[in-house]
Structure formats: structure tokens, C-alpha cells
């Protein structure tokens, strides 16, 4: 019985982490139709930025802990803005209108570059900034000891998810965005400044990526390759949910999170490919993903 609660709790926690990781990816794809392979690198950059800054803060003198959390968010925001603007203004905007799959390959090249760039900046030694994670302590849920930090992650991803949804569905800007999603040309004709929208969205997506990294950093040891490891994971979630849909990403994350937690508890031997199994299954039944739209071609 306990393990059933455990599955639900672990599933929820893992799902919320997955959603944090996948949100940026799906926002960017939804508006710009770019499946951004470099998203994993954004995640890693956020993690490195936070880990190095927070680590430095706690290793030199003992300030109040909450400053550490502010630093995490601050570093993620700064890194996201910088990297996002640099890449969108400096590279991607010259590539718009190219074939979707080609864009994937472009971002793949970006990933290769960023991976080494990070090695140059932060070296290969792991960064270990555990204080924000440890400081929160733990609580007991249904007889299971859970880290409060993980519970906080659940809250954060709920907030972010809801905010994104509100923004897209309830604000004027969101309407503009959806106009762009549905038809770039028409939006342009309606006088929407698509380029500005793109810049905005890409930077937003990047910040979401770095934020996910920064929030994960205190719980892990930040080492080379963490970015590469999560890309495929995020892809799977987004594809399952239907690329470009926030609700989809949320549902996909929940699906993957729960099935993985269940696998870990009841059938550890399937854990490794349960994610791809779910993805292949969903795609086989609904090629466009759970929330994806099919566009019939007019002739």
C-alpha cells in the first residue's frame, strides 16, 4: 500500500521536473516550429550558472540561505536572457522559414558547440551546490520521507504551467501568439510583428530551460553531459503530449512520470525504456500526440 502512495508521490515529483524541463521546448516549438535540440544545453547552462554562483556564495562565508535561492533564480534568468538573445539574434533569425527537420539539425550543431563551450567555461569537474536542497529539510508524506525541495518543485512547476496557460489563453499577447501559431502569413498581414514575437518566445523558452537547470542543480552534481542526457527525455514528453501544446506537455510529463515511478517500484527492469515505450505507443495510436492538431491539406 505504502508503495502505491510512493508511486504517486514519486510520479508527481518526477512529472513536475519533466514538465519544467519540457515547457521551454514545447513553447518554442509551438510558436516557432523549431524542435530545439540545444534545449538540453540551456538546461545545463542554467544548472552550471546556478551551481557555480550558489556554490561560491555558500563556500565563502555564511550568508542567509534565502539569498542562495534568489541567486539561483537570478543566475538562471541572466543566463537564459543572455544565451537566448545571443542565439536568436545572432543565428536563428537568419534561418527562419527553413525546413523543420533542418532546424532540428541546426540546433543539433548548436548543441555540439554549447557542450564544448560549457567545458571551456566551467571545466569538467562536477559542481556540487547542495545547500539550497539540504537546507529545506524533509517532511513525511504517507509514511514516506520526502525532501521539501522536491515538493517545492511540484509547486513551482504548477505555477509556471498555470502562468503559461493563462498567458497563452487569456492575454492579448497570448492571442497574438496563437495567431502566429495558426498562420504566420495571416498574422504578418494582421500587422503582428512576427520577428519580435519570435525573439520574445525564444528567449522565454531559453529562460524556462535554464530555470529548469537551475532548479535541478542543488539536487544533483552538475557535470558535463547532463544536458545531453535530458534532451531525449524532454523530446519524448513533448511528442507524447503533442508538440507545441502546454496542456500536452503537462499531461505527457504526468504520464511519463507516473509510468516511470510505477516501473521503478514494480518492474525495475523496464524502467530504462518505459519512456520510449510510452512514446512509441502514443504515437502509434495518435500520430500527432495527445493534444496535437492534424492539419488536413487543402487541394
Amino acid at each position: 500500500m505504502l508503495s502505491v502512495y510512493a508511486v504517486l508521490i514519486d510520479g508527481a515529483i518526477y512529472a513536475s521536473w519533466l514538465f519544467l524541463v519540457a515547457a521551454g521546448l514545447t513553447v518554442i516549438y509551438g510558436v516557432m516550429r523549431i524542435l530545439n535540440m540545444a534545449h538540453g544545453s540551456f538546461y545545463a547552462i542554467g544548472a552550471y550558472a546556478a551551481a557555480s554562483l550558489v556554490g561560491w556564495y555558500f563556500n565563502n562565508g555564511v550568508g542567509p540561505v534565502w539569498v542562495g535561492y534568489l541567486m539561483m533564480l537570478g543566475s538562471a534568468l541572466a543566463a537564459g536572457l543572455a544565451v537566448g538573445l545571443l542565439i536568436e539574434r545572432g543565428l536563428l533569425r537568419f534561418m527562419y522559414g527553413r525546413d523543420e527537420v533542418l532546424m532540428v539539425i541546426i540546433t543539433y550543431a548548436l548543441l555540439l558547440i554549447l557542450e564544448d563551450a560549457m567545458k571551456m567555461v566551467w571545466g569538467v569537474n562536477p559542481y556540487f551546490a547542495y545547500q539550497p536542497y539540504a537546507a529545506m529539510g524533509r517532511s513525511v508524506l504517507a509514511g514516506l520521507k520526502v525532501s521539501n525541495y522536491d515538493l517545492m518543485l511540484v509547486g513551482v512547476s504548477l505555477v509556471i504551467g498555470f502562468a503559461l496557460w493563462l498567458w497563452l489563453e487569456r492575454t492579448h499577447q497570448g492571442k497574438v501568439l496563437r495567431a502566429v501559431i495558426h498562420d504566420r502569413e495571416v498574422a504578418q498581414a494582421m500587422g503582428v510583428n512576427v520577428r519580435r514575437v519570435f525573439t520574445l518566445v525564444f528567449v522565454l523558452g531559453t529562460v524556462l530551460g535554464t530555470l529548469a537547470g537551475a532548479l535541478t542543480a542543488p539536487a544533483i552534481s552538475v557535470a558535463p553531459g547532463i544536458g545531453v542526457e535530458i534532451i531525449v527525455l524532454a523530446f519524448a514528453v513533448v511528442v507524447i503530449g503533442g508538440m507545441g501544446s502546454i496542456e500536452g506537455a503537462a499531461l505527457g510529463a504526468l504520464l511519463v512520470g507516473l509510468s516511470r515511478a510505477a516501473a521503478v517500484h514494480y518492474a525495475p527492469q523496464f524502467e530504462l525504456f518505459v519512456i520510449y515505450g510510452v512514446m512509441a505507443l502514443v504515437l502509434a495510436v495518435r500520430p500527432q500526440g495527445l493534444f496535437g492538431r492534424v492539419l488536413a491539406r487543402k487541394i
Binding site: L35, L91, F94, E100, V101, L102, V104, I105, I106, Y108, A109, L110, L111, L112, I113, E115, D116, A117, K119, M120, V228, V232, F235, A236, V239, M243, Q269, L272, F273, Y276, G277, M279, A280, L283, A284, P287, Q288, R297, I299
Partner: protein
């Protein structure tokens, strides 16, 4: 069958390379062997690119080919090279005939992602199989050819000659396929599937056939890789490996069967020296190269050659 000039040329290049193997240093012979093995996989990727499909999971068939060879050597103690390779190709084709039924329903990004998913599932299964050495993989037994087993140190050169022969023949076949009705139909599907349907053709059938064929070709590459390296591991099915194949495909371009071979060799040479000279940032070099190719040579390195060729033609015309 009469060969046209291009095909004769390709066979010629093959002969030249093979003979140069006799004088070239062994490390180079080995490097070229590996490159050619990869180029076979890339041929499979290119075949699908011509039909407008980019696969991020060709490592699946690369790996199947390699493991089929390794396992039939290990468990069935088959050492005859042609038999091993045939088993590899056969198993890949068999799998492709099943997966193809599903894959041909997908296009663009979905095809890419689903192919990736399948190869990652294989990766997961292999990692979960201690019997097959899990991530360590296992060593492939020494091969023989119709009962003849090469003396120690001779195997790499022998394999080099064999793979050149195979690639050359395959290049000729693929060249013909590229110019055949079916090959043209693939490009037509890439350009406008609805019209193909209204020509009384079944795009899915053409793609299916193309998918299965590509799987077979790639498996051949996997088999050769296993025999050359003497070792196989699940890394072959990892998505990064598949990404590398896409990389090489774009590097060469899809306009000519020799392009993947050229690209694979270039890639191998560049990477070897990059790792040596800048061991800490060779990925970055690859990334920048890839961007440069996409921006400046969207049709791949081959467009350089063709460009030159056209200029040559022009000069000829003037003269």
C-alpha cells in the same frame, strides 16, 4: 549489364583505393575501413532523405547489423564473412518490414522522433542484457572467407579490400536506384505526395520499400563495423550515433552516391586530427562545420564538386 560512365568511374576509384591500401600505412587502412562502414549506414540515411524523411534512428539498423554479426559469431560460431553479413542484413530487413508498416505512416519531425524512439528502445534492451555484455558489449570473433582465414595483421587489409568491393558494387546499384523510376518516385513524394497519389502510385508502398532497403544497406555497414572493430556495444543504437550519420549525410549531400563515401572519409580524417590537436573542443569544431555546411553549402560538399564540374563544362563549351 552495361555500366555508364559514372559507374565505371566509381569502380575505378574503388580499384585505385584498394591498391593504395597495399602501400598505405595500416592505421590509415583501418581508418578508411571504418569510414566506409559508416558510409554504408549513411547511404541508408541518404536514401530516406531523398524521399524527404530524416531519420534520427538509423543507428537501430546499424546496431542490428553489428549485433547479428557478433552474435551469430559468438553463439552459432559462424565465422564466414559473407554468411555473417547476410544474417545481419536479413535480420535488419526482417525488422524493417515490421517497423516499416508503422513508420511509413509518419512524415517530417514525427518520423524523425519515432525512428529515434525505436533505436533508443533497442539501446535500452541491450543495456539490460548482461548476457550480451550490457554496455560493455562483447568482442566479435575473427572472420574467415570461404574457409580462408587471414594471417594475423593481414585481416584489416583484407577487410579493407572486401569493403571497398562491396561499397563499389553497392554504389553502382544505388546509383541506378537513384535514377530509376522508384528512385525518382521517392523524390516526387518528397516534393508533393498528393500528386504522387494522383499518379496512381502508393506513396506508402514506395516509402516502405525504400525504408526496408535503407535498413538493409545500413545493417551491412553495421556488420562491417563489427568485423573491423572486432567489438560491438549498445552505443551503436544510441541517438548520438544516429545524429552522426545525419551529420555525415548533410556533409556530403544527397545529390550523388559517392557523396556519403567522400563525406564519411573526410569526417573520419577531420575527427582523428581534431581529437589529437584539440582534444577538449573537437565537438565544437564539428558543430561549427555543420552550421557552415547548412548555411554555405546546403546541398553538401558535393555541390562544390558539381559546381566545379559545371564550370569545367562551361570552359569546355567555349573551347
Amino acid at each position: 549489364m552495361c555500366l555508364d560512365k559514372t559507374e565505371l568511374m566509381m569502380l575505378g576509384v574503388g580499384v585505385v583505393l584498394a591498391t593504395s591500401g597495399l602501400v598505405a600505412p595500416q592505421w590509415l587502412v583501418f581508418l578508411l575501413t571504418m569510414a566506409l562502414a559508416k558510409s554504408l549506414v549513411v547511404q541508408g540515411v541518404v536514401m530516406q532523405m531523398r524521399a524527404g524523411l530524416v531519420t534520427f534512428g538509423q543507428g537501430l539498423y546499424f546496431c542490428i547489423g553489428g549485433y547479428a554479426v557478433g552474435m551469430s559469431g559468438h553463439f552459432l560460431t559462424i565465422s564466414d564473412l559473407p554468411t555473417l553479413l547476410l544474417i545481419g542484413v536479413a535480420s535488419a530487413v526482417a525488422l524493417a518490414m515490421i517497423l516499416g508498416l508503422l513508420m511509413t505512416r509518419y512524415r517530417e519531425i514525427f518520423f524523425a522522433m519515432l525512428s529515434l524512439a525505436f533505436s533508443m528502445i533497442l539501446y535500452g534492451m541491450l543495456v539490460k542484457s548482461p548476457g550480451l555484455g550490457s554496455t560493455d558489449g562483447f568482442n566479435v570473433i575473427a572472420w574467415t572467407l570461404f574457409g580462408w582465414s587471414p594471417a594475423t595483421g593481414q585481416a584489416p587489409l583484407a577487410l579493407f579490400v572486401i569493403i571497398i568491393a562491396v561499397s563499389a558494387v553497392l554504389a553502382v546499384l544505388l546509383h541506378r536506384y537513384g535514377h530509376s523510376s522508384a528512385g525518382a518516385m521517392c523524390e516526387a513524394i518528397r516534393e508533393n505526395e498528393v500528386r504522387v497519389e494522383y499518379l496512381g502510385q502508393s506513396p506508402r508502398w514506395v516509402l516502405y520499400m525504400n525504408y526496408v532497403a535503407a535498413a538493409g544497406v545500413s545493417a551491412l555497414g553495421g556488420g562491417f563495423m563489427a568485423l573491423a572493430a572486432g567489438h560491438i556495444d549498445p552505443e551503436m543504437a544510441y541517438w548520438i550515433t544516429s545524429g552522426e550519420f545525419v551529420f555525415i549525410a548533410l556533409l556530403g549531400g544527397t545529390s550523388h552516391v559517392a557523396a556519403p563515401i567522400l563525406a564519411a572519409i573526410l569526417f573520419a580524417v577531420v575527427r582523428t586530427y581534431a581529437i589529437e590537436l584539440v582534444p577538449h573542443s573537437w565537438q565544437m569544431i564539428l558543430g561549427i562545420t555543420l552550421l557552415a555546411i547548412i548555411v554555405f553549402l546546403p546541398k553538401g560538399l558535393w555541390s562544390l564538386l558539381s559546381g566545379q564540374a559545371r564550370r569545367a563544362k562551361a570552359v569546355e563549351a567555349k573551347a
